[in-house]
Structures are given as structure tokens and as C-alpha cells.
Symmetry: C2
Subunit: 429 residues, 2 copies
């Protein structure tokens, strides 16, 4: 964290940056100016934010470029009727720095964090595109599975009790507890609103009206979703990214980066892994709307399916490898398991641990799939399908599958079984 | 919390109170002086601390009495080679206040908290005795089960996600994260040291040398104990007392109070319930050493057994009743379960929840029993048995039973099954 310039100059009130004001502001920071080169009046600024919560600028100078992400005091998607704390920018910068420590080079480098302006200046990634767009366009990313497996294994393991001393972990938990309002968004939008008549819910209507209604009166489903919410509220396992979907991944054929950890907090590991797997499954089941002729995307479907299986298997293997190599935290005190009987018992315990984590993953995946179809924030994978009947066909399959992830969770004990269920769901009518 | 006098006067450095200095100090606080009556030179002070960590004084005046508990900067049991933070006194006072809010009248009232002196002045309980002493002496406490069931149900439920809004719970978690050093004592002494060759371990020797050695090389047992430790480290379910054994209960025939929550933090509910049940079981299995003739304590054994069953059953019923009546927290959002299907699904989920909590309870009980026989801090129930062979006979039964609680946890699905196992263990050779 030593190299990051943190500006804490007070006096200047927060104000949202504009294309016109940003260069002058950035010109005051040598760390930024030296990357961009030239003078501020030579810098080209364009606002590119397509997210829900923030302003995002790309600033290009003669020598280089940076990205500037500034929090807005309200939810951009909804408007200023939904205020949101600016300090999420602080948590995002803290999470980016932690991620870079745990999994070097897999998140954008932080160049400057300005608390007063709720603004992070970070590395400009080019020619990266948001992976969700690539998944819609049928683009393969050869390094996806290995990179995301490494990102998740390293960030989750190294912020867990398996790696950190208990006191250090408690210090970090306390810090991120203050990101409560961002957590609250997840608690409401992911775990609760899709299962009640919430004002901002929407879905492909009238095609899915029946399922939306059915889910709102599905007792076992609601209980299962809320059981996952309880884990989200009370399992402080590791620093989770908190929003790890394909829209938080920037990709090229040779490089994969994870962005946007403003929802970071100490929560259940399965929430990150489940979010990623859910979004791969949504990508799979939405291919029906993106192929020029039926079956044209079959090979691409197979690629997505393989990534889904591969990313879990690589993640699990890497996580256990880290545990064996660097398990110096206060959980499972290594000294107790140094003898042969101990090694065997720890190996058995690791299998139990990973089965439990897999079960959490599938439960969270189910919640994430449902909220993207019946809740407030949808995914472009489905939203870009203009033919509403076709879109709803895929969405219906995703909803049914997600319900089984939650209600019949014990059926899914391997990622291969999940993969088979995805294929079966896709082929069902 | 409004009525409590909190003294934050700086300038005066911390100094341990003595019988000689305490009256003069207390005389400066009207809230204390008005309870004691008369002048400070009329107050009688006696240091009565028999615990491991603190100074405890009883101060009596013409009109009344108070208890003064002052933290020492080291572990009293071990000496100044083991330093300990004074701010545990702050966490104790915070926990006492929270307990009194959740379960009014079941913890001593806080009269004054002085942060600089790490000192809490509280209600003097009389003619209460430490319940552990009563259990050794064969005294029955008719109100034990109902009171402890209420204390645990109310304090755990009302500090959990079932009752608190998520943001408020996160604020409290962050506060108690700073009690990390006290948590670390539990992490080491309860979950780790009994399973390794730790310097401060001791046991009835040579009688238990074989079992002490056996446990240190028992892979499945060590893995199970450390799985409970992981829950202790990462499950922020509720504000737990953190040390809820029979030595933290003061009792008369008509009144039961819970004292000494300095280990309080947001942890797994089963840790409190398990501690209590473990100590009842230790009391049961130590009766062999306290009866004048074999069988003389049979009726008392039966009473302890009934309390063990009763306190769990009452706790579980009260916890679910609170959930149904006051389940306004962010977990299991009540609105989702208001329809008949929802009510049925929530009832099924509550049964699952209580099964899981029971399983945690039994696992933690196993850890607590073992640490009291093979670890640093033992219990008077066994320590006061002068005949080492007899003592070891009971301890051996407790150790075997505790091991089965950890390694065969799935065998114990009801408290009655646990009770039967206790009786069988006691009758075994």
C-alpha cells in the first residue's frame, strides 16, 4: 500500500467531476500528471460510466491514460431519491489495494485515492472490454478460468482465518463493517426484493408474470433464499469482492482483470464464487438469443460450460494448495496437523470445508440468478435480446434452475452435476 | 444505558486499587456514595477476587454495598509475564449494559464505569454464591433453567440478525472486534492448547497421562476441535457472553444472575449454550468425588441431568418464541413469511436453524469439557476432589464423552440423547 498517494486535503467540498473540471483537478497531482504527460489542457476526458452507482472517466494524455471513478451521493440507476454514502469509494480503494496484495496484478493498480472527492484514480486497462459484452458477442477468453480461480482463491484465502492472525482479521472486519449501506443494497436487492412485491422489481412481462408471482408465494424458496441471506449477514469468512459478476471483469485474449469492489466486506466466500458461476450460467442460457441460427452458438455454449466447471475446480485446487502451503492463520493451527494422523485428518477436514463452500456457492448462485431476472438490476445477456418471447424462454429456464439450486441444494455436490443441470435446463422446454 | 455514570476523566494514570485506596476513590462519585451511605472512612473494603484476571472488591457502607471489578494489566492466574489489555473492562461494561437491555435484571446493574481505571462498579448481589460452589455442595437452584434459558435466548436473539437491523449489528460487531485479545485467550486455551504440548497445560497425573497423549495425536478430534474454532473465529451471529460457565453464575434459591462478560464479542451462539451445558455435565460427572457414600448424590445427579435437558429445551422454545414475536431483523425478513405457505416454510427453517444451533452447542460443549481437564484453567468441580484416582475416574469419563461430542456429533440430535450419553458415561468403567 506504500506507493499509493492518498489525498486527504480537507476544505474543498465534494463536487461531482465533469469532463470540463476533471483535468484541472487531476493536474494538481504529480502521480497522475506524470502518467498522463503534457499539460492538463492537452488531456482528453470522456465520461464512460455505464454502471449503476458512479461516474467513470477515461482521461488520456500524450504519455498515457488513467481511469477516474468517482462515487455519486445517490444510486445513479434510480436517481437522487436513493442516497448512497460517498465513503464506498474508500472501501473500494482499500479492497483494490488488498486484492493487489493477495493476487498481484489481477485488479487495476490504484494511483490516487481522494477521500474528500470520493474518487479513485486507477490504471487504465486497454484494450480490455467488459467480459459480459464478450460473453454476449461469443468471444472466448483463454485465461479466464485460471485468472479468476487465482483471484478468488488468493483474495479469499489470504483474508480468511486460514491465513490471517485473528487480531489482524478482526481489525479488518471492523474497518469494513462501516460499508454497511452497500451491504444493505445486496441484502435487499439480491435476497429479499425478488421474493416480494417491491416497487423497483421488473421482469419480461407478461411472459414471466406467472413465475414472478409463483416465486413470491413459494415458501421453501423464500426460506432457502433467506437462509443464504443469514450467511451473508453473519459469516465473516473473508474479504469478499461483493459483486463478482462478468460485468466486473475486464478481459482481453491475454489478460483478465477484476474491477469494482465497492461492495467489499467480510462475508461468506461462496458469495463471490456463486456470483461468478451464476453469471456464467446466465450467459450460457442467454445464448439462445444471440445466435444467428439455432445451434450456431453450440460450440460457444460448450466453452462457457467448460469455464464454469474449470473455474470452480481450479479455484478449489488452488485454495487447498494455498492452505497447505501458507495455512498460518489461527484457524486449523498448523502445528496440530504436522504428524501423519494430523495430515490425514486435515485433508479430510479440507474436503468437508470445500464441500460446504461448494454448497454455499450453489445457494448464492441461485440467489444471484433470480435477482437478475425478477429484481431491479438485470443483465445485458438477457436484456439485449430484443425478442421478448425468446428472452423469456431463456430466463424461465434460468429461474427454474436457480430455484433447484436453492431448494434442492443437496443434489448438487459437484460442479459437474451443476454443469449437467445447466445443459438439461437449456434443452428443456 | 442512559442512567449509567461513565467517568472518562483523563490525567489520572491507571493504578490498581487496594483495600486502602478504594474508598477514597469511590468517594468522588456521588452515584456510588449515595448507595453506600455515610462517609468513605466508614466503608469497609475487602478484596474477594478468586478469578483469573481481575481485582474484585466488595465495598460496604452504612446504607448499602457495591462490587468493584478492576482489570489488571496481566493474567492474574499466570502473572505479569502474560499482559492483557485493560480495555476488556470497557467491553465488560458494554456487555453488561446490553445484557440488561435484552434480559432485564439477569445481569448485575452497572453503577459506574471508569475507563481510565479499567474499573466497573456494579450491584452487590447477596446472599448469592457462585453456582459452581453450589453444584459441588449439592445445592439445587429451582430457578436455574428458566433464568438461564431466558438469559441466553434474550441476549443471543436480540443481538442477532433475527432482531437487529444489519447496519446496527455491523456497528456493534465493529465495536467488539477490538476485544480481540480476550478472544485470542479462548482461541488458544479452549481450542488449541489442550491438543498440543503447551507449557501451561496440566492434568491429573499420572492417571490421565495416557489420554492427554492420546488426544494430542488424535487427528479426527483435533480437526473437529479446530472446526469449532473456525466457527468461533468467523461466525458473527450474536453478542455472546463468551465465558458462560457455572462460575459466571451467582445464585440463590430464588434468584439467578449472570456475571463476568469480559470475553464478550460477536460470535457463534452455540459457544454460550455449549459452555453452560459442558459445565453442567462436568458437575454431573464430578459428583462421584463429592458424595459421602456411593450413590448418596444420585438424586442430585438426576437434578443436574434434568437441568441440562430443561435449560436447552426452554432456551430453544423461548428463542423460537422471540423469533416469532419479535423477528424484525434483516434475516428472514418477516414480510416474506406472512402468508400461510410462508409461515409453514419459516417454521421448517426454524427447526433447521435450531438443529444447527444444537449441533454447534454440542461441539462447543465438547471443547469446553476437554480444556477444563487437559488445559490451563480447570474447574473446582474436579479440582476439589482430593482423591486423585477418584478425580481422574470422573475426568476420564468426561474426556471420552467430550470426544464423542466432537467426533460423532451427528449422533447427538436431541438434548435427551445427550443426557442419556452423560448417564451412560457416568456408569461406564
Amino acid at each position: 500500500m506504500q506507493d499509493v498517494r492518498i489525498s486527504l486535503t480537507g476544505g474543498v467540498d465534494y463536487h461531482p467531476m465533469t469532463d470540463g473540471s476533471l483535468s484541472g483537478y487531476l493536474g494538481g497531482f504529480e502521480a497522475v500528471a506524470s502518467i498522463l504527460g503534457g499539460r492538463p489542457d492537452q488531456w482528453r476526458v470522456s465520461e464512460v460510466g455505464d454502471g449503476n452507482l458512479n461516474l467513470v472517466f477515461i482521461v488520456k494524455g500524450p504519455a498515457g491514460a488513467v481511469v477516474v471513478k468517482q462515487a455519486l451521493p445517490y444510486v445513479r440507476l434510480v436517481g437522487d431519491s436513493w442516497p448512497l454514502p460517498l465513503d464506498r469509494s474508500f472501501f473500494e480503494s482499500q479492497a483494490l489495494l488488498t486484492e493487489d496484495e493477495c493476487a498481484p496484478g489481477l485488479a487495476p493498480k490504484v494511483i490516487l485515492f481522494d477521500k474528500a472527492q470520493a474518487l479513485v484514480v486507477m490504471e487504465y486497462l486497454t484494450p480490455h472490454v467488459i467480459m459480459r459484452k464478450g460473453l454476449i458477442d461469443g468471444v472466448k477468453y483463454p485465461r479466464f478460468a485460471e485468472t479468476l480461480a487465482e483471484f478468488m482463491a488468493a483474495t479469499l484465502f489470504k483474508t480468511s482465518d486460514l491465513y490471517l492472525p485473528a487480531g489482524e482479521k478482526k481489525r479488518r472486519i471492523a474497518l469494513f463493517c462501516a460499508n454497511a449501506e452497500l451491504c444493505k443494497i445486496t441484502e435487499d436487492l439480491v435476497f429479499t426484493d425478488p421474493y416480494r412485491d417491491a416497487k423497483l422489481n421488473h421482469w419480461t412481462s407478461p411472459q414471466l408474470d406467472d413465475l414472478a408471482l409463483e416465486f413470491r408465494s413459494d415458501g421453501p424458496l423464500k426460506a432457502a433464499a433467506q437462509a443464504m441471506k443469514l450467511k451473508f449477514l453473519s459469516s465473516a469468512e473473508a474479504l469478499v469482492h461483493g459483486d463478482l459478476h462478468s460485468g466486473s471483469i475486464m478481459a482481453t485474449a491475454s489478460d483478465i482483470r477484476v474491477i469494482d469492489p465497492e461492495f467489499a466486506f467480510f462475508g461468506p466466500m461462496g458469495f463471490d464464487v456463486g456470483a461468478l458461476i451464476a453469471n456464467l450460467i446466465l450467459a450460457y442460457l442467454s445464448q439462445i438469443g444471440h445466435e444467428t441460427t439455432p445451434g450456431a452458438r453450440d460450440e460457444y455454449r460448450a466453452w462457457i460450460l467448460l469455464q464454469t466447471v474449470d473455474v470452480w475446480n481450479r479455484f478449489a485446487a488452488r485454495f487447498v494448495a494455498l492452505w497447505n502451503a501458507e495455512g498460518r492463520g489461527d484457524a486449523y493451527t498448523a502445528e496440530l496437523f504436522a504428524d501423519p494422523a494430523g495430515r490425514e485428518a486435515l485433508a479430510a477436514e479440507q474436503r468437508r470445508y470445500m464441500r460446504r463452500l461448494f454448497s454455499d456457492t450453489i445457494g448464492f448462485a441461485g440467489c444471484k440468478m433470480i435477482r437478475r431476472i425478477l429484481g431491479l438490476a438485470h443483465v445485458a445477456d438477457f436484456e439485449t435480446i430484443a425478442d421478448k418471447d425468446l428472452r423469456a424462454k431463456g430466463e424461465r429456464k434460468a429461474l427454474r434452475l436457480a430455484r433447484s439450486f436453492l431448494v434442492d441444494r443437496e443434489r448438487f455436490v459437484t460442479i459437474e452435476a451443476v454443469g449437467e443441470a445447466v445443459v438439461a435446463a437449456d434443452k428443456s422446454n
